[in-house]
C-alpha cells in the first residue's frame, strides 16, 4: 500500500513547479501477459481492456506493425516492452480511449539500424499517466513519435517521453499535437538525451497545444540533455489560442469562430489519426470523437 513515483523527469527542476514526477498507487493491478513474437499476423491487432504486460519482439530485418486499442473497463496498467533487433522496422500504434485511471509504460530498445514508428492517440481519460522510454542503442537506429491528444471535461494526462541516444548516428523525431477543452489538465515532459558517444545523432521535438477554454491547465517541459559535441538537437512548443490573423483569414471565407476552432482542432488530431492506416481503427476513433467518417 503506498504510492510509486512514475514519470520521473531525468533532470529534476524547481520543485514548486510539480513536474519532477507523479505519484500513483499501482499496487493492485494484476496484469495478464501477452507475448507477441513470430510467427505472427502482420499487422497484429489487439484490444486491451484490462491490465496487461505485453512483450514484443521484432527479429532481425523483419517488419512488424502492432495496433493496440486500449479502452479500459475501469482502471488499467499496461506495460509494453519492445525489442527491435537489428534492421527491423516496427510500427506501434496505441490508441487510448477514455477510461478511469490508466497507467501505461512503453520501453523500447532499438538495435542497429532498427526503427520504431510510434503513433499514440489519447482520447479523453479521467487520469492517464503514460511513459515512453526509447533507447536508441544500436548505431543508425531511428525513433519517431506522432502523438495526438484530445482532452475535455476534467480529463488529466501526464506524459513523460524520453529518447535516449547512446548509439552513433541515431535519430529521434517527436511531434505532439493536443487540443484541450473544459477543465482538462495536461503535462508533457519530452526529453532528448544525447549520451556521450552518440556522435552524429539528431533529435527534434515539437509540441503544438491548442487551448480552447479558460479553465485548462497545460504544462510543457521540453528537455534536451547533451553530453556529446557532435549532435543536433532542437525543440519547439507553441501553446495558446489561435492567432487573430488566422481567425480573420478563415472568417473572411465565411467560417464562424466556433467553426474555425472545430476545424483547426480536428486538423491537429487528424495529423496523428492519418498515420494509422487501418480503416476499422480509424472508424472506431471517429466514433469515439463523434465525427463523421467519409473516405
Amino acid at each position: 500500500m503506498g504510492t510509486t513515483r512514475l514519470n520521473i523527469l531525468p533532470v529534476p527542476t524547481f520543485s514548486k513547479l510539480g513536474v519532477n514526477f507523479v505519484e500513483r498507487d499501482i499496487s493492485k493491478y494484476e496484469p495478464q501477459e501477452l507475448v507477441i513474437a513470430p510467427p505472427y499476423e502482420n499487422p497484429v491487432r489487439a484490444d486491451v481492456t484490462g491490465s496487461t504486460d505485453i512483450k514484443l519482439t521484432a527479429p532481425e530485418n523483419s517488419s512488424l506493425t502492432v495496433i493496440l486499442y486500449i479502452k479500459p473497463d475501469s482502471k488499467l496498467m499496461l506495460d509494453t516492452f519492445l525489442s527491435a533487433s537489428a534492421g527491423s522496422r516496427v510500427r506501434l500504434v496505441q490508441v487510448f480511449e477514455g477510461g478511469g485511471q490508466t497507467v501505461s509504460r512503453l520501453t523500447s530498445e532499438l538495435g542497429e539500424n532498427a526503427s520504431l514508428e510510434l503513433v499514440q492517440l489519447y482520447l479523453r481519460g479521467e487520469d492517464t499517466v503514460s511513459e515512453i522510454v526509447t533507447k536508441l542503442a544500436g548505431r543508425g537506429s531511428a525513433f519517431s513519435a506522432e502523438i495526438g491528444c484530445r482532452l475535455s471535461g476534467s480529463d488529466k494526462l501526464d506524459l513523460n517521453l524520453i529518447a535516449e541516444h547512446t548509439g552513433r548516428r541515431t535519430a529521434s523525431e517527436i511531434s505532439l499535437g493536443s487540443v484541450l477543452d473544459g477543465s482538462a489538465q495536461k503535462t508533457f515532459k519530452g526529453t532528448i538525451d544525447f549520451k556521450n558517444g552518440c556522435g552524429g545523432s539528431k533529435g527534434s521535438e515539437h509540441e503544438d497545444a491548442l487551448l480552447m477554454s479558460e479553465s485548462v491547465k497545460n504544462r510543457t517541459v521540453p528537455v534536451i540533455l547533451c553530453d556529446e559535441e557532435d549532435v543536433e538537437g532542437s525543440h519547439g512548443a507553441t501553446i495558446g489560442r489561435l492567432d487573430e490573423q488566422h481567425i480573420f483569414y478563415l472568417g473572411s471565407r465565411g467560417l464562424s469562430e466556433e467553426k474555425i476552432y472545430e476545424l483547426m482542432s480536428r486538423g491537429k488530431l487528424l495529423r496523428t489519426i492519418n498515420k494509422i492506416n487501418d480503416g476499422a481503427v480509424k472508424q472506431r476513433i471517429f466514433d469515439a470523437l463523434g465525427w463523421e467518417y467519409d473516405d
Binding site: H246, F248, L250, G251, S252, G254, L263, M264, K268
Partner: protein
C-alpha cells in the same frame, strides 16, 4: 444597376495613424472597378476594412452592402453576404488542407452539406482553369507556398466560393508573365460563371488589359482624389499618377 457595395465617408485608423479619410465609393452589381494609387495610399486598408479586419478601426463613416449597414459585422458574416477578399499576403495555416478548408467554407456559405465526391470534382475543374497541380489540394493551407502559388490559391478560392463581390488586393504584383495570364484567366472565369462585381486594387495593373473596367478610383494619402471611367485607368497606366495627386 443597383448598388452592391457603398462606403460612405469611411475614415480608418490603425496604431494611432489615420490611413483613410472620408473615402466614399460605390460599386454596382456586375461592375468592374479599379482602385489605384501610389504605395501607402491606403488601398489595402480600404479592402481589408470592407472585409472586416481587426487590425483597423473605423473612426468615421459607414459601409453598406446590398443596402444594409455592415459596419459592425464580423468578417465571417460579411463573407456569408457574399464579400470576398483576395489577400496581398495570405497567411499560412498549418493543420488544415486547402481542399478540406474549401469544402468547409463552401458548406458554411451555402448552408448545406457538400458530398466529398462533388467537392473534389469542382475543385479539380477550378484547378484546371488555373493550371494548378491537383496535389496542392492536399497541402496545408498556404504552408510553404511561394508568392505566386499563394496568389493562385486565392483565385482558386474565388472560383470555388463564388462571391457576389470580389476584392482583389494586388493580385498581380510579384508574379511572372505566365502567372499573370493564369490569374487573368481565373478572373475571367469568375466573371463568366458568377457575374459578380470586382474591385481590383492595384498600382501596376497588367491585369486590367484583359478586362472591361467600368469605373476607376484614384486613392492618394488616404483620400479618393479622382474618379473616372475605364479610360482613366488606361491613362494612369500610361502616364502615371502625378497629375492626379498634385496639390494633395
Amino acid at each position: 444597376m443597383s448598388e452592391l457595395l457603398k462606403t460612405d465617408k469611411l475614415t480608418v485608423c490603425a496604431e494611432g495613424k489615420e490611413l483613410l479619410h472620408e473615402a466614399s465609393l460605390t460599386v454596382g452589381e456586375g461592375e468592374t472597378h479599379v482602385l489605384m494609387g501610389p504605395n501607402g495610399a491606403g488601398k489595402s486598408t480600404l479592402g481589408c476594412t470592407v472585409m472586416g479586419s481587426p487590425e483597423y478601426s473605423i473612426t468615421g463613416g459607414r459601409i453598406f452592402f446590398d443596402g444594409e449597414d455592415i459596419t459592425e459585422e464580423t468578417a465571417d458574416k460579411r463573407a456569408r453576404r457574399g464579400i470576398f477578399l483576395s489577400f496581398q499576403n495570405p497567411v499560412e495555416i498549418p493543420g488544415i488542407t486547402l481542399s478540406e478548408f474549401l469544402r468547409n467554407a463552401a458548406e458554411q456559405l451555402t448552408g448545406r452539406r457538400i458530398k466529398l465526391f462533388e467537392h473534389k470534382k469542382e475543385l479539380a475543374k477550378a484547378m484546371a482553369v488555373l493550371d494548378m497541380d491537383p496535389s496542392y489540394g492536399d497541402r496545408e493551407l498556404n504552408v510553404g507556398f511561394s508568392g505566386g502559388e499563394k496568389k493562385k490559391a486565392e483565385i482558386l478560392q474565388l472560383l470555388m466560393l463564388k462571391p457576389r463581390l470580389a476584392i482583389l488586393d494586388e493580385t498581380d504584383s510579384g508574379l511572372d508573365v505566365d502567372a499573370v495570364k493564369t490569374v487573368s484567366k481565373g478572373i475571367e472565369e469568375y466573371r463568366r460563371s458568377v457575374s459578380g462585381s470586382l474591385l481590383i486594387i492595384t498600382h501596376n495593373a497588367k491585369i486590367l488589359e484583359e478586362l472591361n473596367v467600368d469605373k476607376t478610383h484614384i486613392l492618394s494619402g488616404g483620400r479618393i482624389v479622382r474618379e473616372g471611367s475605364g479610360a482613366l485607368a488606361a491613362e494612369v497606366l500610361e502616364s502615371g499618377f502625378e497629375k492626379y495627386i498634385d496639390g494633395v
